[in-house]
Symmetry: C2
Subunit: 213 residues, 2 copies
Amino acid sequence: MPTAETTPCIFVTQGSGNSYKPFLVSHQIAKRCDWVFVDVLGGQTRTAEFRAVNPRGQVPFMSRTQGEGLAESNAIAWYLAEGSALIPADPFERAQALQWMFWEQTCFEPNVSPARFYTAIVPQQKSAHEGEFPGWLSRGAAALAFLEDHLQRHDFLVGGAYSIADVAVYGYGHVAHEGGFRLEDHPRVTEWIERVQAQPGHVPMSMLAPGRA
Amino acid sequence: MPTAETTPCIFVTQGSGNSYKPFLVSHQIAKRCDWVFVDVLGGQTRTAEFRAVNPRGQVPFMSRTQGEGLAESNAIAWYLAEGSALIPADPFERAQALQWMFWEQTCFEPNVSPARFYTAIVPQQKSAHEGEFPGWLSRGAAALAFLEDHLQRHDFLVGGAYSIADVAVYGYGHVAHEGGFRLEDHPRVTEWIERVQAQPGHVPMSMLAPGRA
């Protein structure tokens, strides 16, 4: 079995909030990872070669042994962050961090991410998804309003301190405007984004690029 | 702050795979919880009274202080299971458990749960959702096939032993047939369901009922 010193190999794609989460964590805890860029738009995750690495056909994916790596952006980010201050030490706060991470994957990302993808990444495909946009936009706006409400009373998502929960929600939160969401109508979210960006070791999503990462 | 000895108060609803997850964990680790039954079908989660308890308006919800409890079935189950053998001790396996729990909430539950809800719980509302059924059934079937494939090579989801990941996927997995999914075509899933049911402290979902829980 690999030891804690093994350098994780993480398959990612440029411009993805999900791929960015483990990338941001690795910089903030100064953990070296090898980043392998996968051309999702070019169909690379659908190739037999990539399916042999990750049968789920998704990025991000952390490779350990074939078929037994780690999928799911928040699980990879959690694994990297284990033992660091990004994971709350208190069991209840640790569970609250997970609560926000499940919320992110069920209420936030499924709406903000596709709206952004078809608006900013592949706008030529947007017309084929017009019927889905009203749902994405209304549910995404409700999720943003929920986040705004929480941040009225809290500087960070959990326990008054920056944690992996902030990383998870920031992944797509800070680019929600690219999907047509009005961050300017959410002053507490906007301030929180600035607080996240001011954290030690922060790196912007643009750093997750071949030749830069 | 409550101590570890505080009895958690958990708001649940009968017949819900998500509410069942913390219920099953509590029995398997012999942790006493107070179960408060909420009539979701009768609109109780939309009342001002319930919103004061949980602004998210969802069950399950673990109450601590108003507005600062714990939502998300898998986060509540994780909190209850902390310190028990249900949480894998190895950090990589712990992250693999989270991976399955995120998969459950993004690929499995969003398809199996609504198909079951409108087929078995409120069939009188099924016709209003006919357009969504093909997507739920095809994505749910793909998720079941993925689970079947994993269980071809593993007795349990993570690390060769029963864990919180099994609890999470079992929640809706064992009632998937009520949503029109063919468990009889998935022999490894069926055997895994039997293995889960044979675990010490297992209680069936039917025990999650007023007067029984």
